[in-house]
């Protein structure tokens, strides 16, 4: 009984609500989830121009965050800037290998990986893809979503150091790089919000 009923629904038109995961029918225009009543952005409504603008802005902030110091050490009136890469190299030279690797992965590698994936989605959104390649991409995307928060490590480290090192002889201040880094994270988030990430796995060989 249920089986025959299910056949009547066009499976290609079913989409899952990103907020509550209820299955909805995509009629093409604006859809409001039948369960949680939230507006679902579907493929037709994805704003690719906005997404491109946001991801390019994020990349510019990424470059600024890597050029300018995120932390300024001021020892006896001699300010000394620390960039992200400079900090990683210093940790490596001091023999703090695991922490150098963590910082490098979190601050340099994860944001780059996210840019590549978002650009990949934006370029390929019209080309349908099949089979296991599709699953790999989707898994990779969810993996970056999962590790995304860890890119905030360096910002928190700066905040902690600024918070606790406050004596006359040594002063620690945040640098422009830290602000740029936070803005980079923010714009990366906006770019994924303006597109439908389900594009990554469009056109299924219907089950």
């Amino acid at each position: 009984m249920k089986f025959t009923k299910m056949k009547k629904i066009d499976t290609e038109k079913l989409i899952s609500c990103p907020y509550c995961e209820a299955v909805n029918i995509d009629e093409g225009k604006s859809i409001y989830c039948r369960r949680c009543k939230t507006k679902i952005t579907n493929t037709q409504e994805s704003n690719f121009h906005t997404a491109w603008a946001m991801v390019i802005t994020a990349m510019i902030f990424y470059i600024i965050a890597n050029i300018y110091p995120i932390l300024i050490f001021d020892k006896f009136g001699h300010p000394n800037g620390n960039t992200i890469i400079g900090g990683v190299i210093a940790l490596w030279e001091e023999g703090e290998y695991p922490i150098a690797v963590i910082i490098f992965t979190a601050s340099v590698f994860i944001p780059l990986l996210k840019f590549i994936l978002i650009i990949y989605i934006l370029i390929n959104y019209k080309k349908p893809q099949k089979g296991s390649k599709k699953i790999d991409q989707a898994k990779l995307y969810h993996f970056t979503e999962l590790i995304g928060p860890w890119s905030m490590i360096d910002v928190f480290v700066v905040a902690i150091l600024v918070g606790v090192v406050h004596v006359h002889s040594i002063q620690i201040k945040a640098g422009i790089g830290a602000t740029a880094f936070v803005l980079m994270v923010f714009f990366t988030m906006l770019s994924t919000l303006s597109i439908d990430v389900r594009l990554l796995k469009e056109s299924k060989d219907a089950a």
Binding site: M6, L14, A138, F156, I160, V164, A207
Partner: protein, 208 residues
């Protein structure tokens, strides 16, 4: 329309499949990619209510007592989240200060309060619309609670301070460890769909 409630689309590979009814401790996995789709989650709001009350007590401790004391050149500084934020603001780092206060203070506090309100309202089966709106916020807010990342950041900061500072761990450091454990092993483990299935069970059951 009711047919749609028997279907689920895997978040990871977008494969459409039929829901199955689960017994206690059972888990439904995707037939295509093997991801966990949902667990048996009856009474999930009672569980989140209890966990959130425990987490809220820890969160209050974390913000009242210093996480650690750092002594450099005879001068003592205490680390608390809000003191850290106020220093960033004083230095003019408004953007960094704002994001830190949202992620480390406002988001976790709101998440826990919302879970507590949902737990109480759903127990009495009242306030359907409020619970629905709070659930949307709760699912969005969960990605913004990063006290686990903050904890690792403390350890990284310690490495940078070891040379010239004496460090004393305070009550909140241990409270933070418990909070992170509670968050990772319980609250973050609950899938959004489990919350929504239970919402459906409590508030819309009469339609079935």
């Amino acid at each position: 329309m009711e047919d749609l409630d028997h279907l689920i689309i895997c978040r990871h590979c977008q494969t459409l499949q039929k829901k199955v009814t689960l017994k206690e401790n059972e888990v439904a996995k995707c037939s295509e990619c093997g991801e966990i789709l949902y667990k048996n989650a009856s009474m999930v709001f009672h569980k989140t209510l209890a966990l959130s009350i425990a987490a809220l007590i820890l969160f209050i401790l974390i913000n009242i007592f210093p996480i650690m004391e750092v002594i450099i050149a005879g001068q003592k500084n205490e680390l608390t989240i809000l003191q850290m934020v106020s220093r960033l603001f004083n230095e003019g780092f408004i953007v960094v200060g704002s994001i830190v206060v949202v992620i480390l203070f406002i988001a976790p506090l709101m998440l826990l309060l919302f879970f507590i309100i949902i737990g109480i309202l759903s127990h009495f089966k009242v306030g359907k619309n409020i619970v629905r709106k709070l659930l949307i916020l709760v699912v969005a807010l969960r990605n913004w609670v990063m006290l686990d990342v903050f904890f690792i950041s403390i350890l990284v900061a310690l490495v940078k301070l070891f040379g010239y500072a004496k460090i004393i761990f305070d009550v909140s450091f241990y409270a933070l460890i418990f909070f992170v454990a509670l968050d990772i092993f319980t609250l973050k483990n609950i899938k959004p769909i489990e919350l929504w299935n239970y919402y459906f069970e409590v508030y819309e059951n009469e339609k079935n």
